[in-house]
Amino acid sequence: MRSNENVHEGDGLMRKLAWLAVAAIAVIGAGTANAQQTPRKGGTLRMTAPYAASFGSLDPHVTPRAQDDIVGKALQRSLYNWDTAANKLTLELAKSVSASADGLTYTFKLRDDAFFHNGRKMTADDVIFSFTRIMDGSKGYPGARYVRLIKGAVDVEKGTAKEISGLKKVDDYTLEMTITDRVDPGYYFFGGSTAILPKEEVEKGNYASNPVGLGPFKFKEHIPGSRVVMDRFDKFYKTGQPYLDKLEVLIMAEAAARDVAFRNKEIDTSILGPAQYVAYRADPQLSKGILEVAEMFTRSMHMNLNSNKPFQDKRVRQAFNYAIDSNLIISRLVKDKAYRATSWLPPSSAAFDKTVKPYPYDPEKAKKLLAEAGYPNGFEFEWTTSQNESWGLPIVEAVIPMLARVGIKAKPKLVEVTVLTEILMKGDHQALIASSLTGPDSLATLRCYYSKTPRTACNYTGFNNAEFDTLLDSAAQEGDMAKRDEILKKANNLLYDEAPVWFFNYNKAVLAFQPWVHGLQPNPTEITHQYPENIWVDASSPAK
């Protein structure tokens, strides 16, 4: 028995090292491919949008959906973007930014070479207009959660002011932004829901049908439920980019159909599920075109500390993590399309501690911890789950016998995936397995375990730990980002030890691409969110 357990633990370490190496190779490989070849101008790229059978809206302020932001990355731009090669945020619509000594006022020197697709230059007025629009109190624009950071934004939301007092135009290309919290504004203003839009186009009233943005591609055609077609924007501010003449984003929600279309060379990129991942890795040709990355999604079982007494004991929570053979489930059920979670924060976070070892599979230790906690015969709990193949019922069914070995009886409760968040917010669960966005803002992510964070915001476990709170308070006060990351690293490790969740895995996002496609980025925030100005196709592409 003991030797088996050691093998499992050893496997886990080897696996962890292996995937870190793979992730590094993927990132380096992508960069090297770009460096070795000169990008070719022209051609068409046919990307796929896999998450639904339609787009929600082409107005980026209206939609928070990952599916819509695939198109958004081509049509729109925000103040910041995510630099995959450097694994950090970078300025996009500003050339430089400086912060005041108190870390609350930021002065942006905006680009003076950024043009909207209607030919007009972007100015500070456009940033002010866009953020003010997002805070319109009569609308529920999703980006309001980010813009609320700016001083006075809440007043606009409440209708007591018409302008955001924290936004000041110094001149056409200089913008002063005063924020209410000592955080990096980059985390708040890099997503599509805070894109900068031209007032005159928005006020025409049909913006979603004819989106005009600052992105490298301009809108050409949208056939709802089928595709969005975009042409190269020649006045894009990055010299020589984009390379492609045309970009098509094709809606393909069905994985099996995507597989046929990809093999038939009708599409250039495709997201792979576990079944296809196995098949593509085994194929000598297809395996050459696979891009992998540990995305910022942590899959876990949230234990509701308020509704179930046993979960209030740290030893019980740790027992869960010892009792479940996560490596076995990842390899057999998830087909290795996931990385073992070794903390709440994902590996791409600067506060991720690479030295942390995962909980080993150790049922005996789990039993011992349960006995110490006063549950020598275990206990029973209800486990809410969806049907999701990677973090739903199939996983729960595999875990049930493992928990039974240590005396814990889990009763699965199946619900539809769309109601998971609502259940978590209401606290109407004892335990619930879900996938959570855990980046890129490490401080905001860890605040989901801050005692003063309400359940409706994201403290779904009802976690309350004074030491953890102190660490988060210190991090929030720390102006030096490197030091802040060190504090967050401690908080993240403390959370791993406290185990308010069963730490299952980080999503391994897998993008298959055709051999003629170059410049794809293993973007850990969402692999389908490609900055298309970097992508080019060589002459062997069949798409004209």
Binding site: A53, S57, G225, A253, E266, T418, S435, P454, C458
Partner: protein
């Protein structure tokens, strides 16, 4: 005839009202809301304050009766509401989807009628023959096939292996992109029509008036064309009508598989995302289509068989 048409059209109104009430109430008791559905399998998050604003903006906090009354009043004027998801009028969204759906349904039905009626007819003329056996094996297989699996097989064969047709998508809306989804959708009705036609033709072939026609020395071809075909057609048209009417609803799977931008794929997407106004609009459209087709079939009976009279 006009009276019949008027009566039939008048029947549509209470049916539509019942459908509106049913769909509205069903979605009111379903767990989850549009806002929680925005989570996208954990890919998106939305904060509570924004959720509250969205609920208010979309009127989701109003009492059920009030929302229902508003919806019925608006629907009566042709206003199907604003989509929660896209914030565009549902009528505008549906307008973009109706033509692709109609095209798919018409193509599928054309395939089903041409192949199904022909097979059924040939099988009935030579019962027990090889063609009869083959046609009926094909018909039973067609009825048993899963649209999803059959669609994938079509993609695999005609797109991947033979490279004759594109495997998915709307393309320019032309025939090349239409063929595979139409066959996948039409195979079920085709099988049903083959069996129905065979049974109807066999029934008529044994009727007294056919025997009389033959005994009068009428040629076999004339017997079949003049007596058998026309009489068998009443039953066949009933099946064609029922199938045609329900095909728009059945197209959900095929539309999603082939990424075909019809009403069905819009409805499925909207159900998953709890976009109630859009779901209601789609269902109303599908039901209306069904009722209109049925009314047309009822009228067709009178034209084909003058013995049929509606009171």
């Amino acid at each position: 005839m006009l009276l019949v048409l008027g009566r039939r059209l008048a029947n549509i109104i209470p049916t539509m009202l019942a459908v509106v009430a049913l769909v509205f109430l069903l979605f009111s008791v379903l767990p989850g809301s549009f806002i929680s559905g925005m989570n996208e399998d954990g890919r998106s998050t939305i904060d509570p304050a924004v959720m509250e604003r969205m609920r208010k903006e979309m009127g989701l906090d109003d009492p059920l009766i009030e929302r229902f009354a508003k919806y019925v009043a608006a629907t009566a004027t042709g206003d199907l509401g604003i989509s929660f998801r896209t914030r565009e009028p549902v009528t505008k969204m549906l307008a973009g989807r109706i033509w692709p759906s109609l095209k798919l349904v018409l193509a599928a039905m054309t395939f089903a009628i041409l192949v199904g009626v022909t097979l059924g007819f040939l099988a009935a003329l030579k019962p027990g023959s090889l063609i009869d056996t083959a046609a009926m094996v094909g018909a039973i297989s067609g009825l048993s096939l899963s649209q999803f699996w059959f669609g994938l097989m079509l993609m695999y064969l005609f797109a991947l292996k033979l490279q004759w047709l594109p495997s998915f998508g709307y393309g320019d809306g032309g025939l090349r992109n239409l063929i595979l989804p139409a066959i996948a959708l039409g195979v079920g009705p085709m099988a049903l029509l083959a069996r129905t036609t065979r049974a109807a033709v066999l029934d008529v072939l044994n009727a007294d008036f056919v025997r009389t026609a033959r005994s009068k020395g009428m040629s076999e071809r004339r017997v079949v064309e003049w007596h058998v075909l026309r009489n068998a057609l009443v039953l066949v048209i009933t099946i064609v009508g029922l199938q045609f009417g329900s095909l728009m609803g059945q197209a959900v799977v095929v539309e999603k598989l082939f990424a075909w931008p019809g009403v069905g794929s819009l409805m499925v997407d909207s159900v998953f995302q709890r976009d109630m106004p859009t779901v209601q609009g789609c269902i109303l459209m599908i039901v209306l289509f069904f009722l209109v087709i049925n009314t047309l079939v009822d009228l067709a009976y009178v034209v084909i068989d003058p013995r049929i009279r509606y009171r």
